[in-house]
């Protein structure tokens, strides 16, 4: 039983981080209609910024996270301005290749700045919480709490605020949004900023139990794509549910079946679900 609960916890940890990354991706997809392959590099950039702020500048963990969120938001907005905005009328293949260009640049840039070494990020939460026979590292609990807190905040922001509604409006009809007085550029930048900040925070949450290195984004980005397709591209609840599905599939797959095959399990799951529901779990039948 504990072992089962332990896996639940794991699933939540992974699912939480995946959801955060996938959320940004799905929001940007909503605006751009484009898979942003550079999103994984944003995640990586978040980890490096925080690493720099915490381990080199001596800021505390939370300031590091805030700094990372801001930095990545900035990088994200810059790529919107410099790359995706000029491409807004181009077909999606172009965005995709351009986003790979950004990815290559960021990864090589991080290596140029910080070298190829693996780095550890410090966190104040190193204790192990013992709950009955469950051992719960505090950082993992923090990840779960923070990730889902952020998700709820984002959902509230999108659903309850006018600014949030403008993001959705833009996603559904860019010109229509402009015609009611929504400043399209502002919303695009805002969306990119939010997506970047989420990726940055996800990285800072997760990095202390993993490592900081230039290709760390690869691990999450493919899964984030699986998640948003699974959940229905552009769908916020879809990204969350998809994140949890993949998180649990990995945790339970690795535990009960085999670590060797856990990735295959996650991808096979996607193949299976899409074969039955080609638009993903949460897509609206808008066509």
């Amino acid at each position: 039983m504990e072992l089962f609960l332990q896996q639940v916890l794991n699933g939540l940890t992974l699912g939480g981080v995946y959801s955060l990354v996938a959320l940004g991706l799905t929001l940007v997809y909503g605006i751009l209609h484009v898979p942003n392959f550079a999103h994984g590099a944003f995640y990586m950039a978040g980890a490096y910024s925080a690493f720099f702020l915490i381990n080199r500048m001596g800021l505390n963990y939370w300031w590091g996270m805030a700094g990372a969120a801001v930095t990545v938001a900035l990088i994200s907005v810059l790529s919107e301005r410099l790359v995706f905005h000029p491409l807004r009328k181009a077909p999606y293949l172009h965005h995709m290749i351009a986003s790979i260009g950004i990815l290559l640049f960021l990864e090589a840039g991080a290596q140029a700045l910080w070298g190829a070494d693996f780095h550890r990020m410090d966190t104040p939460y190193t204790q192990i919480v013992e709950l009955g026979s469950l051992t719960l590292p505090a950082q993992r609990l923090l990840i779960i709490g923070a990730a889902f807190g952020l998700v709820v905040l984002l959902q509230l922001f999108l659903k309850k605020t006018v600014t949030g509604a403008t993001i959705i409006a833009m996603a559904q009809n860019r010109e229509g949004a402009a015609l009611v007085g929504i400043d399209a550029n502002r919303v695009a930048m805002l969306t990119f900023a939010i997506a970047g900040a989420l990726a940055g925070m996800a990285a800072v949450l997760y990095a202390p139990i993993n490592l900081v290195y230039t290709s760390m984004g690869h691990l999450v980005i493919t899964k984030a794509f699986v998640i948003i397709v699974l959940g229905g591209m552009g769908s916020v609840p879809g990204a969350i549910v998809g994140g949890l599905i993949i998180g649990f599939a990995e945790a339970f797959g690795a535990f009960y079946i085999s670590t060797d095959y856990k990735d295959i399990i996650a991808f096979a799951l996607l193949v299976l679900i899409l074969s039955v529901r080609p638009q993903g779990l949460f897509a609206r039948g808008a066509h």
């Binding site: 181009a90 990815l103 990735d263 193949v271």
Partner: protein
């Protein structure tokens, strides 16, 4: 008139390619070129499904790996002669492509892309994990060079070059036939609007499946050549980054054109060779170059040139030239809601 131009162009290119080993003078240049040709074959295949039919397949390098492993496994583990194994490489890829296509081609736009991204990843993982068949991460060592045919000994870089060139030319020739035929028009019709194409009596599934299988056939064949050329195989050949590379070749040259992907597949590897001096920092340069290219030459080199020609031919001299509308690439459907 135009046809003659195209034909002389191609003939000139062929002559250049034939003369290349004599001008290159060293094996390094031959190796770069031969490898580029191998990827060009796969790219030309990718272009059929992505550029002409509008379904962007991200599992393409997975199929290349299928072809390569067909040759690797058959020659190393079963003693099958290279050429016999090679003959199967494209077919095995197309065979697997049939099943993958059957499921994946029901999906559209990004869904298809991401689905195939996952399929490609599964292929990679299977190659890595299925050790009894693929030798897993250790890879397949000691793939024999293609057996000599008559006086042609394929362990020499120069003959290898001509061998690869031969298959490249054959691939281009077949591709040329396909895209300029009714069949090619059918594919393009699906790319340009599948609902309309279906209303015109075009069986979407059958045609997309055919394009998909043809496309991966080329990829598998390229994989077979790769196996005989590099003579070592690891799961890495299936890596999605190779599909991204090929997509980039297509885009740089001009997607949905015949010569564009070829041009890209040859030009980009040479460019990266020239950027080698930057070592690990070359992507700091290469990344932005890629972005600029996509922004300022969206139709690629060949595409931009062709578009200009086409407009010139289509419009009477006096009529105003309308704004360029995008050609040749699957258009984003999202904007069509409402």
């Amino acid at each position: 008139m135009k046809l003659v131009n195209a034909r002389t162009g191609w003939s000139l290119l062929l002559l250049l390619a034939l003369a290349f080993p004599f001008m290159a003078g060293n094996d390094y240049h031959l190796t770069v070129m031969s490898t580029a040709y191998i990827y060009a074959i796969a790219t030309v295949g990718l272009n059929l499904i992505t550029g002409y039919t509008g379904q962007f397949n991200l599992a393409h390098s997975g199929f290349m790996a299928v072809g390569a492993y067909t040759v690797g496994i058959l020659t190393v583990d079963h003693g099958v002669p290279f050429w016999a194994a090679f003959a199967l490489s494209g077919l095995v890829a197309a065979f697997i492509g049939f099943f993958v296509g059957l499921v994946s081609l029901r999906l559209k736009t990004h869904f298809f892309s991401i689905f195939t991204l996952c399929v490609g990843y599964i292929m990679f993982l299977l190659i890595e994990k299925w050790e009894s068949l693929t030798h897993g991460t250790v890879g397949i060592v000691g793939i024999p060079a293609p057996e000599s045919i008559g006086p042609l000994d394929f362990s020499e870089p120069r003959t290898q070059y001509y061998m690869v060139l031969f298959f490249l030319v054959a691939s281009l020739w077949i591709m040329h036939r396909i895209v300029h035929s009714l069949l090619g028009r059918t594919f393009v019709a699906i790319r340009n609007g599948d609902e309309l194409a279906q209303a015109l009596g075009i069986n979407l599934m059958r045609n997309k499946l055919l394009a998909f299988m043809l496309s991966v056939f080329f990829s598998g064949m390229a994989g077979g050549l790769y196996a005989g050329y590099v003579r070592f195989l690891g799961p890495g050949v299936a890596g999605v980054e190779h599909t991204f590379d090929m997509t980039m070749y297509m885009l740089v040259g001009g997607i949905g054109t015949l010569s564009g992907p070829l041009l890209g597949a040859i030009a980009v590897p040479w460019l990266t060779q020239y950027l080698q001096f930057l070592q690990e920092y070359r992507f700091v340069v290469f990344g932005p170059v890629l972005v600029l290219l996509v922004i300022f030459l969206p139709h690629g080199i060949v595409g931009t040139w062709l578009n200009r020609q086409r407009r010139k031919a289509a419009l009477p001299a006096t009529a105003p030239t309308p704004a360029p509308r995008l050609a040749a690439v699957p258009q984003e459907k999202g904007a069509r809601h409402a």
